[in-house]
């Protein structure tokens, strides 16, 4: 068998620009970081400034289980993308589904936490703590929700058999967003449940 000879000009090789997907996602993350920074600064500034109760230490419980769920979902999505890259679709689907499940547990846990807090008399109107707490945690939960919607969309396409190895880069971009949401949670968790309490 003869190998066909292909001439590759030397300067063709050197012209490799970054893909637009990750670049745009880094930009999105930059914008999100700026936005969260403002909410975090407001939270820090208003710690202990509430005129009335309840105070954080009266009502907040550290959500360790939920945090473990969300942070491990970063790991599962990483594995999922790795399986997709090597074309093992079944494993990809399982790990992807697991990611969604973990995210969903986190979201439902937040929902339960909020219901308990409201039952204990803390709403967004109660005091500065309520305003800043629900805004910051809510903004993060909103990002988790958006992420879950996107992840679920990919899952639906996967179940229909429309996702393949060629979509690795796109799922990678989505996983960047998901990692970002997790990192934000580390900041929010540290601030709200450890420093602020």
């Amino acid at each position: 068998m003869s190998t066909p000879s292909v001439t590759i000009r030397e300067d063709d090789l050197g012209w490799n620009l970054p893909a637009r997907g990750p670049v745009a996602m880094y930009c999105v993350i930059g914008a999100e970081v700026a936005m969260f920074t403002i909410f975090v600064v407001a939270y820090i500034f208003y710690i202990g400034k509430s005129a009335t109760g309840p105070q954080p230490r009266d009502v907040l419980h550290v959500p360790i289980f939920l945090t473990i769920c969300l942070l491990s979902s970063s790991m599962t999505i990483h594995f999922a993308v790795r399986f997709l890259r090597s074309g093992r679709m079944a494993s990809f689907g399982v790990w992807w589904l697991l990611t969604i499940a973990l995210g969903l547990i986190f979201l439902l846990g937040t929902l339960r936490e909020w219901r308990e807090l409201i039952a204990e008399g803390l709403t967004i109107q109660t005091n500065l703590f309520g305003t800043t707490y629900y805004s910051l945690v809510g903004l993060h939960a909103f990002h988790v929700t958006v992420g879950l919607l996107a992840l679920t969309t990919v899952l639906i396409f996967t179940l229909r058999g429309d996702v393949g190895k060629q979509h690795t880069e796109r799922t990678e971009v989505l996983s960047m967003y998901w990692h970002f949401v997790d990192v934000v949670w580390i900041v929010v968790f540290t601030l709200v449940y450890i420093i602020g309490r």
């Binding site: 620009l17 893909a19 999105v28 403002i38 208003y46 805004s135």
Partner: protein
């Protein structure tokens, strides 16, 4: 250049039914059409914002005037400021970036064409929302229609107590919505410049226009998002009963100031950096010299981008910050003048010894240089906190920032209009009408904004709807208002020129200016695909290389 022109008969475009053409414009994802939409949109709002300014100037032409009520005056300055920043200046710079970036870097479109269309329509919808407040802002309270809280909307003025009705809701929603549009476009600009440059165009060989818009995109991402966050907080306060800016519940009004100016000051650089970009393209071409100190220009621009994010609290010297904070913001504000000064010297050095062609775009750019210098000098004056304590919220400040925005940004933008009009329309503008526009606008600008400094120094506060006679302000206010007439007349000539030249102007051809960047290598207006073959470049002035194969630039760079 090996681009092939496929010329469709002139009648091909025009003969389509109006509805079909409209449909094409509304559904377009083409960067050139979206760029033009942005520009038209900005021009429309320029006229609207100009009318609002005129109403204010008529009210202030003499003491104790009763042309409009105090309430209407408040709405006028709020709407004027908000319109001019968010719905004139921003769309204008985005429009030019959209139209020119892909052409300049040898790409066929922006990186995300649909995101591009989405961003434009978000911005358009934001403007619509703002102006819908005139009809829908009353609410149930008979509380006045359009927003009247000033363009920076200090708390607690925006709380339900002091802004009943829906006018402030319209303001905050429209800024939120158009903010999403701005962030979308910024992402697009960055991704386009980073990912779509044609072969050979390394970062160091990009036109300065691309570098400056890249910086602008980064700034938008870093500073419009805080504004979005602040608007979300305001909405939590207004709709959900939160306490972010509610001083009675321990909230802080100063917090809003910080959050607004974290956006508000860098925003000036978001607008002026593209103006620098126009000047950096126009001045070399009409001086017949390559830009002086390209790497320094790039470094200065990026430097401005970074420093500008640490100067915001110079808007708040009178609020009562600690002396440490005051000192920091005085020094950082003065520091931003250094890279800006470097740029001015570079433009001057570009012109130095060049064969200067005094065409309309060049005239506007020269005026831009001098006026921006003066604007910067009054800026440095106010950077000194004690000086600012005396003059903050006076007409001196108003004169200063109009010098930046009109004298700097608008002048450079007019230059850009004339410079790229042949590319966008395929026809030349009328030089005589253009000169008339320039001189009228120049005279009007200086009548209005030079003399506006004086009542400020004499203690006239901004945002007052009238004043008593005998304070020494009368004559200055009269002169300021007279200047408006000249500016208005200038803009009328501009509009007339554009309309007339669009249909009757001489055909421009590809490269009427004998310019050097890639947009001039394709036909005017460029075809949908921009380049039949994507170009390759070896220097910063690819067209120079093409026209002078015996002495190409890449021998020297």
């Amino acid at each position: 250049m090996s681009t092939q022109t496929i010329s469709l008969p002139e009648t091909y475009e025009a003969s389509r039914p109006f509805v079909e053409q409209l449909h094409q414009w509304v559904t377009t994802v083409d960067h050139k059409r979206l760029g033009l939409l942005y520009i038209f949109y900005a021009l429309l709002f320029l006229v609207v914002g100009g009318i609002e300014a005129t109403i204010m100037r008529i009210q202030l032409i003499r003491p104790l005037n009763t042309f409009v009520s105090p309430q209407v005056f408040n709405r006028m300055f709020t709407m004027h400021g908000t319109t001019m920043i968010f719905f004139v200046a921003m769309p204008l710079v985005f429009g030019f970036a959209n139209y020119l970036l892909p052409l300049m870097i040898g790409a066929r479109d922006m990186a995300f064409p649909r995101l591009n269309a989405f961003s434009f329509w978000m911005t358009a919808f934001g403007g619509f929302l703002l102006y819908f407040s005139f009809v829908g802002g009353d609410g149930l309270y008979g509380a006045g229609n359009a927003p009247d809280v000033g363009w920076f909307a200090y708390a607690p003025l925006t709380s339900q107590t002091f802004s009943p009705g829906h006018s402030t809701d319209f303001w905050t929603l429209s800024l939120l919505v158009s903010g999403f549009g701005s962030i979308g476009t910024a992402i697009n600009i960055i991704a386009t410049v980073v990912c779509l440059r044609c072969k050979g165009m390394t970062l160091g060989k990009m036109p300065l226009f691309a570098w400056l818009n890249l910086t602008m995109g980064g700034l938008v991402i870093m500073v419009v998002s805080p504004l979005t966050a602040a608007q979300l907080m305001l909405m939590v306060d207004r709709y959900l009963g939160g306490h972010f800016f509610d001083t009675q519940a321990g909230g802080s009004a100063v917090m809003w100031m910080h959050f607004f100016w974290v956006f508000g000051h860098p925003e000036v650089y978001v607008l002026v950096i593209p103006a620098f970009a126009f000047a950096s393209e126009i001045i070399p071409v009409f001086s017949r010299k390559a830009i002086f100190g390209y790497p320094v220009m790039v470094a200065a621009t990026v430097g401005i981008g970074f420093i500008s994010m640490s100067v915001w609290a110079h808007h708040m010297f009178t609020v009562g910050m600690s002396s440490g904070a005051n000192t920091f913001f005085v020094l950082s504000t003065m520091a931003v003048a250094v890279p800006t000064g470097i740029k001015i010297f570079n433009w001057l050095a570009t012109m130095w010894g060049g064969q200067i062609h005094f065409t309309v775009p060049m005239l506007f750019c020269i005026a831009f240089l001098f006026q921006f210098l003066i604007a910067g000098l009054t800026g440095v004056m106010q950077a000194a906190a004690p000086f600012d304590w005396q003059l903050t919220a006076s007409y001196f400040v108003v004169a200063h920032f109009h010098y930046v925005i009109v004298g700097g940004i608008i002048f450079a933008s007019f230059g850009a209009f004339y410079y790229w009009f042949p590319k966008m329309s395929g026809r030349m503008y009328n030089e005589r009408l253009g000169q008339l526009h320039f001189w009228l606008f120049l005279i009007g600008f200086h009548l209005t904004f030079d003399f506006m400094h004086v009542p400020g120094l004499l203690g006239m506060p901004r945002r007052i709807y009238t004043y008593e006679p005998g304070r020494g302000w009368d004559i200055w206010n009269l002169i300021v208002t007279i200047g408006v007439v000249f500016q208005g007349a200038g803009v009328l000539f501009f509009v007339a020129n554009m309309l007339w030249s669009r249909f009757r102007g001489a055909l421009a051809g590809r490269d009427p200016w004998d310019a050097w960047t890639l947009e001039w290598s394709t036909s005017s207006p460029p075809p949908d695909y921009n380049f039949a073959r994507t170009p390759e470049v070896r220097s910063r002035r690819p067209l120079w290389d093409l026209k002078h194969p015996e002495d190409p630039d890449w021998h020297y760079e």
